[in-house]
Amino acid sequence: MDTQAAVFEVNEPMVISETIDGETVIINLEYGTYYSLKQVGAIIWTGIQARRNVSDIAGLVQAHFDVEAGRAAAEVAELVRQLSEEQLVRPASGAAGGETGAPLPAPAARASFVPPALEKFTDMEAMLLLDPVHDVDEEGWPHLPGKDGQANA
């Protein structure tokens, strides 16, 4: 597969995201993990949301930041690989963004390039993993031993 032509999409519905003031916060509702992407990373995420191929996203990065084409393409491909590994994005189904995607943000001025970094936070995982739901019996109901009869009173 031509990596530069590949199109990815956000792994909805379990992945949600919002971008505020140049920082994107991404949440995986299934695993309780969340992530931060700043500046270059946030722009790349915008391109993924718009279902643009990797090459187009690299062009978007070049339009916003002072970076040469080969470096931009490599950084986009690497971040997409990490996002895929974290199950935050998946190969897109259907048409790419050329026909269906949202418009991409226009750059105000080219900023200095800092390689994108996907920061991962796992402190909320415990809240899901400690949930007592999974410690109960197989019946799917909160029976304590010896209380079955009461539950159907």
């Binding site: 949600i16 919002e18 949440i27 739901v133 909160p142 079955d148 539950a151 159907n152």
Partner: protein, 357 residues
């Protein structure tokens, strides 16, 4: 070990409806046998009746709403119907789901949709089934002993959260204080200083909406709405708030070593049901005497609260995440470097509100 319940061929909606109607029948029977206690509250601009079967759960599940009580005239917008097994002898009906369908925080995710909500807190503690179509939710509790101190301080948290969504509000882990014409939302992780900042305002001209659990109106003009008339402090911090510390004997203690004060008994005139919001504050205790407020990126405010709020209840988290983002994009964000002189906190917030008026 009994076999798992077989997969039910009925649709998820039908399975929920069957369970809900049987649960509602049991609650109605409990009311007939144990009597009814009715409390009405106005939360985030809408009225809700809480109908209790018998008196056992009334205080535990309504004390914290005392500041929002209104006369029960006419029909309420929604009804929460509560019964407990300990005092009525009535348990919940058989489940219409398998263990595999239960998800984090007790949500039975496969039976939840835009009109229905189902949460089962294990083991054998609490069931909440809510139906927008019926205009009712039914809550079953095993007994008084199973209500934790934090639930007395913040009763029916999930249910109020779910219900508020339909009125344009989302739950947010935040405090809120201010004046009737405008206030601030105080965002931060647990232990970041939200309660400290909010409770410091009780001895000022600022009104108190919350220190921890809050509803956020996500319309064009963001608003904060009060859920509970409670405030929490670590036991070792209570002496810094003498007017609260003097009422320590009436506070309840949580497992995390915090004292919960029921503020409607202490300073009812300082409590507000809600406020329009003018700004967002991120508390930052400094150890210095003075308090100062400085500009902060909105992304910092969002990051401080949105993941924690969204991951609390996965089925409700999506709306909360989007709603918080929507509100924060409309509000300026500041860091409040809180000082040890507590009087400086409401003074600094008041000065900020003056500037933003």
């Amino acid at each position: 070990m009994p076999d798992p319940a077989p997969a039910d061929p009925a649709s998820a909606g039908q399975r929920f409806d069957d369970f809900f109607s049987e649960l509602a029948e049991r609650q109605a029977r409990a009311e007939r046998e144990a009597g009814t206690t009715l409390r009405r509250f106005r939360i985030a601009g809408r009225t809700v009746d809480i109908r209790f079967a018998g008196p056992a759960m009334v205080g535990l599940m309504s004390d914290a709403f005392a500041h929002l009580a209104v006369p029960a005239e006419g029909k309420a917008d929604f009804t929460f119907r509560v019964f407990d097994e300990e005092s009525t002898g009535l348990g919940p009906p058989r489940p219409r789901w398998n263990i595999e369908e239960q998800y984090s925080h007790g949500e039975v995710s496969s039976l939840i949709d835009s009109q229905r909500y189902l949460q089962v807190i294990q083991p054998r503690r609490l069931v909440i089934a809510a139906s927008a179509g019926a205009g009712e939710a039914v809550v079953w509790v095993s007994g008084k002993a199973e209500i934790k101190p934090w639930e007395h301080a913040a009763p029916l948290l999930t249910l109020v959260n779910w219900w508020a969504n339909s009125g344009g509000y989302v739950y947010v882990h935040a405090g809120a204080v201010g004046r009737r014409e405008g206030g601030v939302l105080i965002l931060g992780r647990s232990g970041a200083g939200k309660s400290h900042t909010a409770l410091a305002c009780l001895r000022s001209d600022l009104l108190y909406v919350s220190d921890d659990h809050c509803l956020l109106g996500t319309g064009a003009r963001p608003k904060a709405a009060s859920m509970y008339a409670t405030g929490k402090l670590f036991t070792h911090d209570a002496p810094k708030f003498p007017f609260l510390d003097a009422r320590r004997d009436r506070a309840i203690e949580t497992h995390e070593g915090k004292l919960v004060f029921f503020l409607n008994d202490i300073c009812p005139d300082r409590l507000a049901p809600g406020l329009p919001l003018k700004a967002v504050l991120i508390p930052n205790p400094t150890g210095r005497r003075e308090t100062e407020i400085v500009a902060a990126p909105r992304s910092a405010a969002f990051f401080a609260t949105a993941p924690v709020t969204a991951l609390r209840w996965p089925s409700l988290g999506r709306a909360a995440f989007t709603g918080i983002a929507s509100a924060l994009k409309r509000l300026p964000s500041y860091r409040i470097n809180t000082g040890t002189d507590l009087r400086g906190i409401p003074q600094a917030i008041g000065a900020l509100l003056d500037r933003l008026a």
